[in-house]
Symmetry: none
Amino acid sequence: MLKLKEERHQFILDEIRANNKVLSSELSTRLKVSEDTIRRDLRELSDLGAIRRVHGGAVKNNNEINLEDHSDSSAYIPFSYEDREVYSKSKKEKIAEKAVSLLRDDDVILIDGGTTNLELAKRIPKDYKGTIITNCLPIATKLVEHRFVDVYFLGGRILPNALVTVGHSVIQELKEIRADICFLGTRSIDVQRGITDIDRVEVEVKMAMSKSAENVVSVASSDKLFTNQPFLCVSSKNVTTLITELDPNEAALRPFVENGTKVL
Amino acid sequence: MLKLKEERHQFILDEIRANNKVLSSELSTRLKVSEDTIRRDLRELSDLGAIRRVHGGAVKNNNEINLEDHSDSSAYIPFSYEDREVYSKSKKEKIAEKAVSLLRDDDVILIDGGTTNLELAKRIPKDYKGTIITNCLPIATKLVEHRFVDVYFLGGRILPNALVTVGHSVIQELKEIRADICFLGTRSIDVQRGITDIDRVEVEVKMAMSKSAENVVSVASSDKLFTNQPFLCVSSKNVTTLITELDPNEAALRPFVENGTKVL
DNA sequence: ACTTAATTTGCACGTTTATGCATGTTCAGT
DNA sequence: ACTGAACATGCATAAACGTGCAAATTAAGT
């Protein structure tokens, strides 16, 4: 059965995504744990913002965005983002904090999709002044709140799960762009190969992004280190900076430093 | 069935969105709870400002958050129950409802920005199948929820107020597109000139959109009729269809019909 | 392997919430 | 004004909830 708490959490998220709701009582019997445990699970997931608790269970948190209310300060986390890594929010925050420190006024910045980059977008100071180019819907939506930021969106077909645009037009537009920094959401990074990912069309976009930027910054929680995916985004030598939630002096990061990558 | 209070609330809101009214008695039987419970639900939703309670049930509350639209102050004038059905529907919703009726499966649809078009996007059936191209951030965000819709976003600089993209790239991408219908948010429309607007860069995009579509549909509340703005979007003869909240036989719409424009 | 610390879980307890029913009141339409 | 339906209010009950605590499990260090 599902013995680990994490498995239950995943199960609950899946269930909510499928049915838009869960009942504490039902979960208790199906997962064979007490309702108290279920309630604790729901509380934890709710604290992460992944679900919304209600009396009797929990429901999908449908924080919608509309024209009347785009000042919405509450976090907009699309569903499919959650199954990637909800449990490491504090990691993402640490990473985002470091990433923001790289920003200089009047920079031209490329931001890829992913929850960490969304976190980064949220943490950009309200008075930051610069140009930001992205292909990620929620990130763009977040950034329009910044008065002094010019936001450009890269057009193309929208992947409903990742909420990023992909395709020929994105890549074409990127060819006409010269950015100072590019923040790449990273599924896997390895000292030898570099940044790799699983979806071919997303990889093509990430690749084009990295080529259009002076500095390529990989934002990656430590569990992505030394892992591999089928498709290469950015070869190792072209990754300028690596940001993880770890201390830069951590032994695990040593190989990257020796390889010439800056580590934050 | 619907065990959570939250689900009932959602059901009630959906029901009101679709029919503009709900009956306590009907909800009681359909949701299999006592009328008291229904009344409590309605009270809570009413306290949140989501609906307006009336004797027998509840209706849509018309206090638009939109500052520009004070014409709906008629909401405070008491009216009989039958009239309520007519008046409780906001202009935008009536328009959106008519617009949705134009959709055919497998169409390629262009949707411009604006609150009315957002309302349209919200009302597209969840099982609609087709391709939708837009330059409006909230509309795209709404549409990704539709499993069978391919959403394409037109990239460019984002106008923070209108939340649409504009500029050369948008127009360039539009040139490579052939759509069946184009829904244009309309600030002003006149029998002689056609659709006009105030912002030059937005106008350029709207113009390009209209040229890329077989049918050009203007969505415009009646107060936009017979008004003018400095820049021409679409000349009168190129407007295929006009949708307002009025009855198509209304005298005010006669000139458009005589001019060869379909009126819904 | 053994011990210790930390986490997770279930249970007991009292508290809150949700719901239906009974009561009397208000409403709307003849 | 009369009448039945819709309503508000108070109350009872069961389910869901939070909390503290102890047992059980897991993780970590030696």
